[in-house]
Subunit: 307 residues, 2 copies
């Protein structure tokens, strides 16, 4: 296993001001990011696959109420938490995704089951939960996803108080990308979507090519931001396409997709990407993006604002 | 309005044998394709937009029971018709999509409403139908979508008789791409999905970048085939990406995406695409694909098998 191993994660992007984000608040997020990095990289260190690593890392972030995914999911307009997730295997380009779940604690793991145990890629709503039950995934009560902080955000959003300082509360997402000892890439993304979303809205996270993409011949990508724009810009696939069709580095491709393609469309967001050589890229056009990276060369970093 | 105007449509791709498809059967499909071409091109001729044209053409195909969309939708495993559609405006790259509808006669028109009247791109299930009601789109009873031919296909599929001769019944889709007098492109796709689909399965049709994509700087694309593969290969966006990033013609890009990218992944399907110059491309790796094209130079053609 001489191949370089690496795992990168993100916990959402937003445009809140640096001064509003206290050291104490950062310490809590930083601990969550580091727990996810350690859990995911532990898989890689024990010979696990990139798929195992991204699933493990995202599960930690789903269980951490600070992030908008799993337990910390935001509320829809109707006061319900509806969860979306996707996973993609760069080796086979197999993919699985789930959306509009209401009773699944770890959507990323259900997405992996869809990939590995169904003939389909994307399952939604009660049908996806029926699939979960048929594969012995227990459903949990909706109360698991109720956090007072998120509910307060919904009440503020319904009252029309969508201040910029709160923007992270609206568009958060978590995700991971990994490169394993066998040289395989994988990506996963999970989200509660957008505070106050309506009418069964689904964003980019569970959409292959938009929020999530992985192919061994280019890179693995997980995106976050205003999902409608990320969908229209097919951001995750575009990072890979620029590498494949233009020969760009993962860093150049990530910067162009966020700095030009997404920005020109008027969208806000960011992404993390990992090339097959283990090169890590992060790009965002918001003020901040929660992210972290760990690799077999001993790198272990987390970050939020630009340096 | 000296700009060239063009509309192309498709009615699905499949690998049934030429000898099994009688002249009488073709005559019925051909009439349906021509009705859609005339309806859509009539909009362009009266100065309508590419969006108007693709919506009008797809509505005709949705109302024609021969095609797997709208009225002629296939049945899911549970004996229900669940409909998906998307539309995209090449000028603004705005997009709208709906999935898992059960009571909307013309899903493509609801997709357009989502694009124009909601802050979201993709709405699913009962939420999408709630949105329809709020915008005065009447719901129809499920009986509208019941056709004996499709129900018989479900019974055969459930019995495990998924013969190749019936493949078109499983993966049909309809779609349209148009170029209007102002030089704008648009694309739309609509489907009943896959016979015997389960668990709230959604395919490529309503996914921007997979089954549907349009951008004025490259092309408009609508795809059809085994949706899971089209999703993983992000086929619609890839045609545009090859034009944008490699400078390929729409014909070369369409052939590469179907003949190499989709085929190498093991998927079957096809697509139609129209460039901003009005160049029309069709590509498929199945034996046959229903399609037609009409333009302001007087071209009016329909086709099924390769020549």
């Amino acid at each position: 296993m001489s191949q370089r191993r690496a795992l990168a994660i993100h916990g959402g992007a937003g445009s809140f001001a640096r001064e509003s984000f206290t050291a104490e608040r950062w310490a809590a997020y930083d601990a969550g990011l580091r727990a996810a990095l350690v859990a995911g990289f532990g898989r890689l260190d024990r010979g696990g696959s990139a798929l195992d690593a991204v699933e493990a890392a995202v599960r930690v972030l789903e269980d951490e109420p600070l992030f908008n995914a799993g337990r910390g999911a935001v509320f829809s307009h109707d006061g319900i938490n509806e969860l979306d997730a996707a996973i993609m295997d760069g080796a086979s380009r197999a993919a699985g995704a789930v959306a509009a779940l209401r009773h699944v604690r770890n959507p990323v793991s259900l997405a992996r089951l869809v990939m590995e145990r169904s003939p389909h890629v994307l399952l939604v709503g009660t049908g996806a939960e029926e699939f979960a039950l048929e594969h012995d995934v227990p459903l949990c009560p909706r109360a698991w996803f109720h956090t007072d902080a998120r509910y307060a955000q919904l009440l503020r959003a319904r009252a029309g108080d969508g201040s910029v300082a709160d923007q992270l509360d609206y568009f958060g997402t978590v995700g991971a990308v990994a490169l394993d000892g066998a040289g395989n890439l994988a990506a996963a993304t999970s989200t509660g979507g957008m505070t106050n979303k309506r009418w069964g809205r689904i964003g980019d996270s569970p959409i292959i090519g938009a929020g999530t993409y992985a192919a061994n011949d280019s890179c693995a990508v997980s995106a976050t931001g205003h999902g409608e724009y990320l969908l229209r810009a097919t951001v995750a696939r575009d990072v890979a396409a620029r590498m494949e069709y233009r020969g760009e580095s993962v860093t150049a491709a990530a910067r162009a997709v966020i700095g030009e393609r997404l920005t020109n469309l008027g969208g806000e967001g960011g992404l993390i990407a990992l090339s097959r050589d283990g090169e890590f890229a992060v790009a965002y056009n918001t003020r901040a993006m929660f992210r972290g990276v760990i690799d077999s060369d001993g790198r272990l970093e987390t970050g939020l604002f630009s340096d």
